[in-house]
């Protein structure tokens, strides 16, 4: 399952502060879209508005529309919990639940919602999700050990397995490799390439080579100065953004001549 996301005229506020201004973007189904840009330009903030996670921060609000296959996430009466069960998220730092085993971490989305699941179904789901996250072979003999005992890269893949176990339509990744070494990063990037066969993937990254390697389309965000809102500067095919960008500031950023 995979759905497209259409964002129109989106403004994101923290209280009175306008953090991201006037974003219009279409994220295709079954593709990888990368968000790049300098720190503080609103990439992560924008990403979190795509599954209503930014509301967790007091005072945060949104104006505009985000359509998931035509359904507005911000329409009246939409339950953010329903939204989040369809749009999963992987965070910057691996955050497996410390009180749960590897198996329970994968089943967290099911178990925390107290949905009933037979043991054989649960076993199948655990194996399928861990294989989907390229982690099965490394942990299949210690599924009942705590998830916090894994290495950082394994923990991050466990978090991805946990996210895909609830079978979302879209997976958002907020700098998923920034806390990982190059080998674990490679494992995650390979995984992203496989995930796009089934899911719409959106990834925020500071690593431009990574954006070039994994994404089909790239969006460049920039900020005019401190206290000013972040804006979407350019959105195009990844090859275009890196080889033939339309904007001067995009070219400066991707070629390292920023500022």
């Amino acid at each position: 399952m995979s759905k497209r996301i259409d964002v129109s005229d989106l403004n994101v506020y923290y209280g009175d502060f306008l953090a991201v201004e006037d974003v219009n973007i279409t994220l295709d189904a079954k593709s990888v879209t990368a968000f790049i840009g300098p720190s503080g330009c609103g990439k992560s903030t924008f990403l979190r508005t795509l599954n209503r996670m930014h509301e967790v921060i007091p005072g945060a609000r949104v104006e505009g529309k985000v359509l998931l296959d035509g359904d507005n996430l911000y329409a009246d009466g939409v339950d953010p919990v329903t939204v989040r069960s369809q749009i999963g998220m992987v965070f910057q730092r691996p955050n497996p639940f410390p009180t749960m085993s590897i198996r329970d971490n994968v089943l967290a989305g099911v178990k925390l919602n107290s949905r009933r699941i037979s043991k054989s179904d649960a076993d199948d789901l655990v194996e399928k999700s861990l294989q989907g996250a390229n982690l099965w072979n490394e942990v299949k003999d210690r599924l009942h050990k705590p998830g916090s005992g894994l290495s950082g890269g394994q923990q991050q893949r466990l978090c991805i397995a946990r996210a895909i176990a609830v079978s979302p339509d879209v997976i958002l990744m907020d700098e998923p490799c920034s806390a990982l070494d190059p080998i674990s990063t490679l494992a995650i990037e390979d995984l992203i390439n496989e995930l796009k066969d089934e899911y719409t993937v959106v990834i925020v990254t500071h690593n431009m080579q990574q954006a070039a390697r994994v994404s089909d389309k790239t969006a460049f965000f920039n900020i005019a100065g401190t206290g000013k809102p972040g804006k979407l500067i350019e959105f195009a095919d990844t090859t275009t953004i890196f080889n033939n960008p339309g904007q001067k500031s995009t070219e400066d950023y991707v070629s390292g001549r920023f500022g």
Binding site: R84, F97, P98, G149
Partner: protein, 368 residues
């Protein structure tokens, strides 16, 4: 060609340092000098120890100041002050434990002390046991039962109220005015004198059930007034240190807020919460004043907290000391009081050990 440098006999790097044996030499001479000085004014062990320590500190710092310089001397002065303060703080603790042990053990090992109540133990019985030299009769069973029951009910009231208040403060209030008021009131409640809590409970139940209502449950209410702020405070701190990432991880999986709190936040913090509760129990189990005005005194076993007066360990100790069973022979009562005090200390110690055990059992496993 490079030649090997030989190690110099007297290193230039250790110049101006006192030899290693200096502190021992100073300690020995301090002890001797102190003994001599004490002999002049009248010898006692305590004064001798204090004087030796002071002389040792002065000698150590002084010699260091002369030979080693200002920095080393300051270091030794600070060390002396820190160690001195530590010993000073430890002294009353050791003294209390020693006194209670010495006075309490004979009573505690008396047969029947733990298994019998004071029912039927009158002044005549005490007089007889003193005259005939037979073991002291009567025991602490009724007080032990009372203490356990009252504390159990106080915990039953305090833990849900305290934990839910802490959950509101950390998870739902988002730092609004109301939560600031609650936090302030909880802080004020922490400082309430325990007798005031007792009077509150007594007055409250006098109002709804009629004057003179003294039962174990009234005492439990009084204790819970003292216990709730402790539970709120410790649970609040424990919930606060649960990383926000875990809450976000649960939300991102489409888990509702209350389920996230029940199944992620509380399990992660449960070891701290449980040990906080245990320490709160340890704090109220020794309360005397509120129990005097709410549960009354009893000499018989009462296992019903909702009817009749109830004894407890602290009030048992108080009554045995203040109004001995046999006014002409207070020794048996004194012995029982000390034994009960020892029992109470042992209970509190077990609770503290229990808190550590609980924290270790519930702590998230690392799996390494």
């Amino acid at each position: 060609m490079a030649t090997l440098m030989t190690e110099r006999k007297r290193s230039a790097l250790t110049r101006g340092r006192l030899p290693k044996y200096t502190p021992y030499a100073i300690a020995a001479s301090a002890v001797i000098v102190a003994a001599a000085l004490m002999a002049l004014v009248g010898f006692n062990v305590f004064g001798w120890a204090v004087l030796s320590a002071v002389l040792f500190a002065v000698g150590n710092v002084g010699s260091s100041a002369i030979v080693e310089g200002r920095r080393k001397a300051t270091d030794k002065l600070a060390t002396s002050l820190v160690v001195g303060a530590f010993l000073l703080a430890l002294l009353p603790l050791i003294s209390v434990i020693w006194t209670v042990l010495v006075n309490g053990v004979p009573g505690l090992v008396t047969p029947g002390f733990l298994g019998s109540s004071m029912n039927g133990v009158t002044g005549a019985v005490d007089n007889a046991s003193v005259k005939n030299g037979t073991p002291v009769l009567g025991g602490v069973y009724h007080a032990l039962v009372g203490s356990v029951l009252i504390t159990f009910w106080a915990t039953l009231i305090s833990v849900p109220v305290g934990l839910l208040a802490a959950i509101y403060l950390v998870e739902y209030s988002a730092g609004n005015k109301f939560s600031k008021v609650i936090t302030f009131l909880v802080d004020v409640m922490t400082g309430i004198p325990s007798i005031v809590a007792g009077l509150f409970a007594a007055a409250f139940f006098a109002m709804i059930l009629g004057p003179g209502t003294k039962t174990g449950f009234v005492a439990a209410v009084a204790l819970s007034v003292l216990m709730i702020p402790v539970v709120v405070r410790s649970s609040e701190e424990m919930l606060k240190i649960v990383p926000n990432e875990l809450r976000e991880a649960a939300y991102a999986l489409g888990v509702r807020k209350w389920r996230t709190i029940m199944k992620v936040v509380i399990p992660t913090a449960i070891s701290g919460i449980a040990s906080g509760v245990t320490l709160a129990i340890a704090r109220v189990i020794g309360e005397t004043a509120p129990l005097l005005v709410t549960a009354g005194f009893a000499t018989t076993i009462n296992t019903n907290v909702f009817a009749g007066w109830m004894s407890s360990l602290p009030t048992f100790i108080y009554t045995q000391i203040m109004t001995p069973t046999s006014p002409s022979n207070p020794d048996p009562s004194t012995q029982r009081a000390w034994a009960a005090a020892l029992l109470l200390i042992i209970l509190v110690m077990l609770l503290n050990l229990g808190a550590r055990l609980v924290a270790r059992i519930f702590a998230p496993k690392t799996g390494r």
